[in-house]
Symmetry: C2
Subunit: 547 residues, 2 copies
């Protein structure tokens, strides 16, 4: 298979490890832990994996290890560095005992249930060191939730003589990892389950997890192209670029990219929800900036839009809710109407407040909300092209202002959506080191007979040497939340903290960025060269560590 | 103004020059030249700038130079490295005489006509060394074509005591540079005009120009994100990504990106035109690959689509032609019909062949072709989202095949359009060096009293030391072509040569790339690090130099 020059040279990179993981390792245990909320319920649900201590690795002495085989699973969306977690895991278990074997379950958790796997060997792995993607074993979105899945998984675990499963995933996958750990512990199967914090979205973080892996590389890749677009924008001086960014519900990615590139506008869903803003208010806010800049002769700008925006606009959220109910109840007679009649039908059946919201929506979006539904009858919010919706509505408002003599500029928009462009980039030095360290930590948690833990590495804004590796009981990060109408134990998702330093830093600057043109151009990720350029963590992580 | 770490470090890069430009320079002249075609007509139109010799710079001896001021203009779309051309020009004229001044005309050729300019100083320039974008002085698309523009320009040229104007632009801008040079020469104004070959599209190349600047950086940036998408595609194994790439008419960008990333499919407009393929044939060709891969269990892939595709499909070209004529003649009665009636009206009024083509188009595209027109009443081809059009039609055909039992896979598409993401990237080492050398060459052409020349640098696949710098008479690259119904002297645009090595290399491999998954991941441009990674020219340039 042909490789690029960068693939060939980057394969030679040797990830740096925290001091404690460089040689033999021993475990230092802390006090028993509690879940972040709903302690009684969580304790009841996880009698075997609740209350365990935090674990830190410290230098230890060489000791012979019993042979152990390990299975690894990639779960959910791709994130840069997944392969390096597997490399760290592989290298460490081989270091502990060369006869140890690592098995990779294929295409996500489904591979465990359906017994699809490969053995991961040194020879296979050499092409995947420091690479992006999850293509070594693939990923998938099957949820490990049911006992028959756990039992089916156990069959292949027994067959391969596997001591522990490592699940590399986001908040839901790690919640499920803990459920699995609890199940195997309750049944005394002697099989351990260890999680690893993966997601580009940055929403898996808390007092124990400083950042999930992949966030660094993905946001740097998006910031690269956003910076390039800003420079184009500032050179051609004739377009407003509306850029939607992946990231699910949370706006961490948009915020980090804003801190890196200083766009004219960056919407933060969490703030919009808190302030109970309507779509029209958001549109007006953008249009005011456009008009201000036009008055300065600057008919150009850049707007960042988080993927989750639409659901966070309270009025739209309420509209979607009522639409789902309405069309479930009246689907049949509605479906036989033509498009104009459908629109009238909806407006006449909605509550006045929601009808008003619906009436303000451009045709295309109204149609998406009222027609295109998923198999459960729900609106497919992710299909709504928010970036186009916003620019269209801004254009309409500006046209109105022009007629009223309030605005005299030109408004032309370009649209972008970045997501797939960054999820599989070759990991930055930070993610390459962080992921490799997580893999080594996972191996050590297994060797030390831990289950229901997530591998963690802390102190990430210091030099790699000074990073602190260890493990956190997954139950410690849980609380009870409503999911599909039922209260479930889940890892609390981290949305953007409006009192946190990253948001406050952005908020203090954004008026200036809106009025002036203060773009910053981060450029592409550099793997070699000055350390200032190559080895910086994200702005978010730096600001958060300045507590 | 805040800068990124990369901006700060990259500003320190000192572009490398060909040996001949490193010290004092003298001119070596070749034989008189001829235009590539229509010699008599071109000679008649350019009596003062026709037939001049090719110029090569060779090491010379220091000589005192008369003071000279220079004006510079950026024309047309942004391309990485434009600022370095200006840096090279500035440094060289200051080296020749520190009292020389450089003026930058603002927002393109219009700045010359309207007397908008700034003086470019060392202090101003220090923030723009090795940066992308044209934001130092801006660019624009005003065409310098009319005598009153030339005369207005002359006023400011006289006022600033300017000896020569450097126009950095694509084929049209350089054609106009030559018309201006001829006009000033014919009127004995003593003002020189020098061109510089700029365009990311790669269509300004010929026996004298090996590549236009910006093509290298732009295609590397697009290849980075295409590679990332391929890796995502290959990890998730559930999407077909349709990626449209900027590049105007020519498919050079798509071809170069294909050579770098090995996608499953890359359409080449020039080949489609040559083979007189219909849209349906293209769709069928893609669908066959999708079906083949589905049968192997691979319901994923990547398709590259050149921006200019739609106009190169002969049947669509003919349809657009007839639609333009039809709607110009029958616009009024047509406009009053509702949408369904409009569609019927069009089909009933078109010739049978074009009506058939029209009937095969998805609704959205049919509407764009029949409704949205530019101020001259022409279809706005660039607004057609070819990537969505193709995937929609492929999806329809696969659904039909599924019913007929010929296909049994899943087809889900994602769409991307890359253009603005790469036009203003910080120039690669190649473009940084090449552009700086072009600027130095331009200064030397001026100092040596040349006009109607384009600055060139050749032997670009060798080490920078061995590059050959000089100038080519712009008339040498001209022929007569029809533009808006009139025969005009223009620089011949280079489309993809179907007998050339880049295309043949691609054509020899593409079946393999379609069936197998042989993605290559070029990663982001590296400015530091192993020379293999940092200092490679494009695959296109390498293959073309292997003649």
């Amino acid at each position: 298979m042909e490789k690029s020059d960068l693939q060939i040279e980057r394969a030679k990179y040797e990830p740096k490890l925290p001091k404690a993981l460089q040689g033999a390792v021993k475990v230092k245990e802390g006090e028993p832990t509690q879940s972040v909320d709903n302690q009684e319920e969580i304790k009841k649900l996880f009698p075997n994996t609740y209350g365990m201590p935090l674990v830190e690795f410290v230098p230890g002495e060489e000791a012979t290890q019993k042979k152990m085989n390990v299975g690894v699973i990639l779960s959910g969306g791709q994130a840069p560095g997944g392969h390096n977690v597997i490399c760290g895991l592989f290298d460490e278990i081989k270091k502990l005992n060369p006869e140890n074997r690592l098995y990779g379950f294929l295409m996500g958790p489904g591979g465990l249930v359906d017994h699809n796997y490969i053995e991961i060997t040194a020879d296979l792995l050499k092409d995947y060191r420091n690479t992006g993607g999850f293509d070594l074993i693939g990923s998938g979105r099957t949820k490990l939730e049911k006992e028959d899945q756990f039992e089916k998984g156990l069959q292949i675990i027994r067959k391969l003589d596997i001591k522990a499963i490592v699940i590399i995933g986001g908040d839901d996958s790690n919640t499920n990892a803990c459920v699995l750990a609890e199940y195997y512990a309750a049944h005394k199967y002697g099989v351990q389950v260890i999680g690893c914090p993966k997601t580009i979205d940055g929403d898996l973080k808390n007092d124990q997890i400083e950042t999930s892996f992949g966030f660094d590389t993905a946001t740097k890749t998006y910031s690269e192209v956003i910076g390039n677009i800003e420079r184009d924008c500032n050179s051609a001086r004739k377009y407003w670029h509306f850029i939607k960014l992946m990231g699910r519900s949370a706006s961490h990615i948009a915020l980090e990219c804003a801190l890196q590139t200083h766009p004219n506008i960056c919407l933060i869903s969490e703030e919009i929800e808190k302030n109970d803003m309507t779509l029209n208010q958001i549109v007006e806010q953008i249009a005011k900036v456009v008009a201000y800049r036009a008055a300065q002769g600057n008919n150009f700008g850049v707007v960042l839009v988080p993927e989750g925006l639409i659901e966070f606009i309270p009025a739209i959220g309420r509209l979607i809710q009522e639409l789902n109910d309405l069309l479930a109840a009246h689907g049949a007679d509605y479906r036989n109407l033509d498009k104009d009649a459908q629109r009238k039908y909806i407006i006449s059946h909605l509550s006045p407040a929601n009808a008003e919201t619906f009436a303000t929506l451009p045709d295309g979006v109204a149609r998406q909300l009222s027609l295109d539904r998923d198999p459960h009858g729900n609106v497919q919010v992710s299909l709504i092209e928010t970036e186009k919706l916003l620019s269209e509505m801004v254009g309409d408002l500006l046209a109105k202002w022009k007629k009223e003599g309030k605005y005299d500029g030109k408004f032309a928009a370009q649209h972008h959506f970045f997501g797939y462009e960054g999820r599989c980039a070759a990991p930055s030095n930070f993610d390459a080191d962080y992921c490799y360290s997580l893999g080594v930590s996972a191996a050590q948690l297994i060797a030390n007979d831990k289950t229901g833990y997530m591998a963690i590495v802390k102190n990430l804004t210091a030099k790699t040497d000074e990073w602190k590796a260890g493990g956190v009981p997954i139950t410690m990060m849980m609380n009870m939340e409503k999911r599909n109408g039922e209260m479930k134990p889940v890892i609390r998702k981290a949305l953007v903290d409006l009192d946190g330093k990253p948001f406050k830093t952005f908020a203090a600057k954004r008026d200036e960025w809106a009025k002036n043109t203060e773009y910053v151009y981060p450029g592409p990720i550099q793997y070699w060269g000055p350390s200032d350029v190559c080895d910086q963590p994200t702005k978010t992580l730096k600001l958060e560590s300045e507590k």
